[in-house]
């Protein structure tokens, strides 16, 4: 073994120790519930974690490691600019423009870049087309890989132990929890995002939408339909759910 390289096991031990002590710094048993999706907007007294994060941000600013204004821009970008409405525009374009759809299915990264959505975590995009007898479902069992440029940051359920564990062993049961029951003759394809390929589901265009504009179609497309946990319907307006 090359003696100039540090032993990875020793380093791992060190990092593990650092991770353990960091965990102790972050959590108190009363911390925000791990799988609790409830908004915290009614909280009046700043929580423990709020104060700890503020303290670390101040420390990093004082150390010259972080520019507070840069953080503001990142938060604002993901709150207002990068989200599932981007993906909905891609889906609607594919529904109305067959040539675009062909490009999207053959080289999704380039076709998505045509609409300007080509930032980090969208470097290698693949679009999966749903059809009457094929249903695609995307998961990341190991962490939370998700196509940020087109869907924004993942919802809590996508990152939850419940979804990550079950999607691969019981995809049909998982879909039932979302109110989507598939017939037995439909093939289910689950895509576990184990590498840097990011997946976007192209849902089926609902019938009775021939008269709708591209913009009106985009408004029907939900976040869940582009992950594969829902179909697009005329009744559920696209609200990012």
């Amino acid at each position: 073994m090359d003696q100039s390289k540090p032993d990875p096991v020793d380093r791992r031990g060190f990092l593990k120790g650092a991770a353990a002590s960091a965990a102790a710094m972050v959590t108190k048993p009363q911390g925000a519930g791990a799988q609790d999706p409830a908004p915290h907007e009614h909280q009046v007294v700043p929580s423990d974690v709020t104060l700890r994060v503020k303290a670390i941000e101040s420390l990093l600013v004082d150390k010259g490691l972080v520019d507070r204004a840069a953080l503001d821009v990142i938060v604002e970008t993901f709150e207002t600019k990068i989200g599932p409405r981007n993906g909905a525009r891609i889906v609607a374009r594919a529904w109305v423009d067959p040539a675009y759809k062909t490009r999207l299915l053959s080289d999704a990264t380039a076709a998505i870049a045509e609409l300007g959505f080509d930032s980090h975590q969208g470097e290698e995009m693949v679009v999966l087309e749903n059809a009457p007898k094929v249903h695609n479902l995307v998961v990341c069992t190991l962490c939370s890989c998700y196509p940020w440029p087109v869907l924004g940051l993942p919802p809590v359920w996508y990152k939850s132990a419940a979804y990550r564990s079950r999607a691969v062993i019981d995809p049909r049961g998982t879909l039932k929890e979302f109110g989507l029951e598939l017939n037995d003759d439909v093939e289910v394809r689950v895509w576990d995002s184990t590498a840097e390929i990011r997946y976007l589901v192209l849902p089926e265009r609902p019938s009775g939408t021939d008269h709708l504009s591209e913009e009106a179609l985009a408004a029907l497309v939900t976040r869940n339909s582009m992950i594969g946990t829902a179909k697009v319907s005329l009744t559920a307006a696209g609200d990012g759910a």
Binding site: A34, R189, A241
Partner: protein
């Protein structure tokens, strides 16, 4: 690492709770943690994405399960800052820099942040590498248990599948996470029958697709 993060196929992890009109961040601190992780990771090197993922995997299992998502990220930031020496534990405890400690210049600033957000960070590598498998070939996922970072989930190890597509050459997370080089190699889309993974309780019409590197596969 056979850690608690490797969740595929575990059972009784609770119901899937989904929220209507879910915001990007549920509290301001989550956004700050996300943003801090982005600017710190932008430095690359030991702050690379694979090292980040492994740092989260190294959280003690009980903490990993108890923590919310961004609490895990926050824990990673703190651990990494101390491990790299950017910040000392004493400074974290005190909440301010040690007297006389050198001031750095932020890697990402108000002026450069837009470029950072827009920037791609490809893991595809334009280097020659021998493809050991080809589309249509039946393969087996190796029965290996790397003690460090790996993107080979337990639930496919030892199972047979079919190469659907060669996706090209990508850096290898198992070495990149540990600062042991990129080891670029072919990566494939591999299709497994749910019945091969889970037995007859699975539907014969269910298939699981994973992206898998050469080093994860063997011939049948």
């Amino acid at each position: 690492m056979n850690g608690v993060h490797d969740m595929g196929g575990m059972q009784d992890m609770g119901t899937i709770v989904h929220e209507q009109r879910e915001p990007a961040f549920h509290a301001p601190w989550e956004g700050r943690v996300y943003a801090m992780s982005r600017v710190l990771r932008a430095r690359g090197g030991k702050w690379n994405l694979d090292a980040f993922r492994h740092g989260i995997e190294l959280l003690p299992p009980a903490d990993y399960l108890r923590m919310s998502y961004y609490e895990r990220w926050f824990a990673w930031i703190l651990g990494k800052l101390v491990a790299t020496g950017d910040v000392t534990q004493a400074e974290i405890d005190a909440g301010h820099p040690a007297p006389g400690s050198p001031a750095a210049t932020p890697f990402v600033t108000r002026q450069t942040v837009a470029a950072m957000v827009a920037k791609r960070a490809p893991s595809r590598r334009d280097v020659p590498a021998v493809a050991h498998f080809k589309a249509g070939q039946r393969i087996r996922a190796r029965n290996i248990h790397p003690p460090g970072h790996t993107r080979l989930p337990r639930y496919v190890r030892g199972k047979a599948g079919v190469i659907v597509r060669d996706r090209g050459v990508f850096l290898f997370p198992d070495t990149n996470a540990h600062d042991l080089g990129e080891k670029p190699q072919h990566m494939y889309s591999v299709r497994f029958s749910a019945r091969d993974l889970w037995g007859n309780q699975a539907s014969p019409r269910d298939f699981i697709h994973l992206d898998m590197w050469d080093d994860y596969l063997e011939r049948i």
